[in-house]
């Protein structure tokens, strides 16, 4: 599916939810626990792939290798995020001085 900036996607394997911060154009299949994420969670939970159960943490941002895809975890979960079978990386955030 095409990933739209600002859209919220839910995991099919856990409580995890993400918001798309930025995404390249075209169809991308974002998975959580190895299962595609979607606008709504399925009625019955599916099992996560064992090597995709690394977990996501609320407030952390995840990016793909070239940084063209970035998502924000808005609800924590046990699954791990991936595109094309490649797990996303947690993005390092710089500490900025408090401004307001």
């Amino acid at each position: 599916m095409a990933l739209k900036t600002g859209a919220r996607l839910k995991s099919a394997v856990c409580d995890g939810e993400v918001m798309i911060v930025k995404a390249p154009a075209g169809d991308i299949e974002l998975t959580c626990g190895g299962v595609p994420m979607a606008d709504s969670a399925p009625a019955t939970r599916q099992a996560a792939l064992p090597d995709h159960a690394v977990g996501i943490r609320i407030g952390k941002r995840y990016i793909n290798e070239d940084g063209s895809l970035e998502v924000l975890c808005v609800k924590a979960g046990d699954g791990g995020l991936a595109v094309n079978g490649q797990l996303l990386l947690q993005k390092d955030t710089r500490q900025l001085p408090k401004t307001d």
């Binding site: 900036t5 600002g6 919220r8 900025l96 001085p97 408090k98 307001d100």
Partner: protein, 502 residues
Amino acid sequence: MNLMMLLEMAASAFPERVAFTDSSNATSYTYGDLFTAAGRRAAALRASGARRMAMLDVTSVATPLALFSSAWAGLPYVPLNYRLTDPEIEALLARVTPAYLVTDADRSDRLGVLDAVAATAREHFLEDHRHPEDPADEWSMDPDEIAVLLFTSGTTGQPKAAVLRHKHLVSYILSSVEFAGAAEEEATLVSVPPYHVAGIAAILSSVYSGRRVVQLPSFTAEEWIDVARRERVTSAFLVPTMLARIVEALEGQSDAGMPHLQAVSYGGGRMPQTIIERAMDLFPNTDFTNAYGLTETSSTITVLGPDEHRAAKSSDDPAVRRRLASAGIPLPGIEIEIRDEDGRVLGPNERGEIYVRGEQVSGEYEGRGRVTDNDGWFPTRDAGSMDDDGYLFLEGRADDVIVRGGENLSPGEIEDVLMEHPAVRDVAVVAMPDEQWGEAVAAAVVVKPGQSVSAEELQGWVRDRMRSSRVPQVVRFADELPYNETGKLLRRIVREWFSPGG
């Protein structure tokens, strides 16, 4: 993308933490309670048929409730300046109907009779038993929906309503604040009014970082100091006039310490260099940050951090020391250019108009569309320059630059020099019409109580320190300078003092 998502995250990560405390009446909200209350008010807002949520009141715990419930309901949030007169307020309200208005009890009776205005007293809005509704259905995640309409404090003509969409405010928070980055004991004191963009930014960044907000509905230096000590406040945002009053109130006191105050950020106007230096002497362990931004840019776009403050203050090198007067470097994701009147991009140390681009930049006004150019650059109307290392220096509004015989003079530079004179409490430098030069330099000066100084002495003071073109041709003394309630100097009024017949 929706502002509500920020509160939802906080409410799920630390529901029991206190989120907001009103220092005037000790009412408070936890993140969890604020989230639930917002859902119930959102249901009421949707049922009301209103298209906008207007807030006309001093800061209270109803302020964040109104902001988040309107985001949840999908209505633009419109905070109005409560210092305006009734006719002015009615004119603004007429531009945002049908509106759901939260205000004080007195105004609720007076304004509730207007067409298409459903007025509710703040007390009623806050009472849970009046809002038994189930929380509203999900909020929209459309990033292009309007989150906030802010009437700018334009001093001529009709106020413009700046449009801030969810994507602008959320991008600002995501690029500048770490989620849950605040320790549990952290508290920030918010004394800017709720209709100022800094007031909105303070709510959002505090919620996202998990930092408790202590609200000070009406600022006096004494009250601010008292509340900061009582509530063990660890950080605060101040406009320059507020910091100046606090410094004056504490200087020379035997017990001037603010032991919990780890950080002070300031912005919203030009900070006189003497004031920030005195503040740093007064609070040597406090981190100072200068934040420059505009309503149209979702608040802060450049930052001068604590390390740079300390390095500048302790340096003997004038070039490094000057950096204390800088607005700093752009936030991640923000680009800045300085351009001349023909739109040509200028190099380091050249003065021109500041242009800005970035995801948090809206540059849009209701009914007028975006004023950004084809590449997304927003003209700020602020004049400035960048030094060789990319530090931004503000020179005032582009319209405030004094053009004397073809030479562009920055009022701020001259004001800084005059402020260093021991008898000067406050000063404003403006252009005055002049037959020979086109414009000449005029200075309005407020003298410290118990001190005296002559115009000739001040002219000599500037002549000893700056090029002769900067010497004020006329110096006039005043009891006070005209500021608006958010600390912005009203130069238009000062200019009138020096106009023929003024």
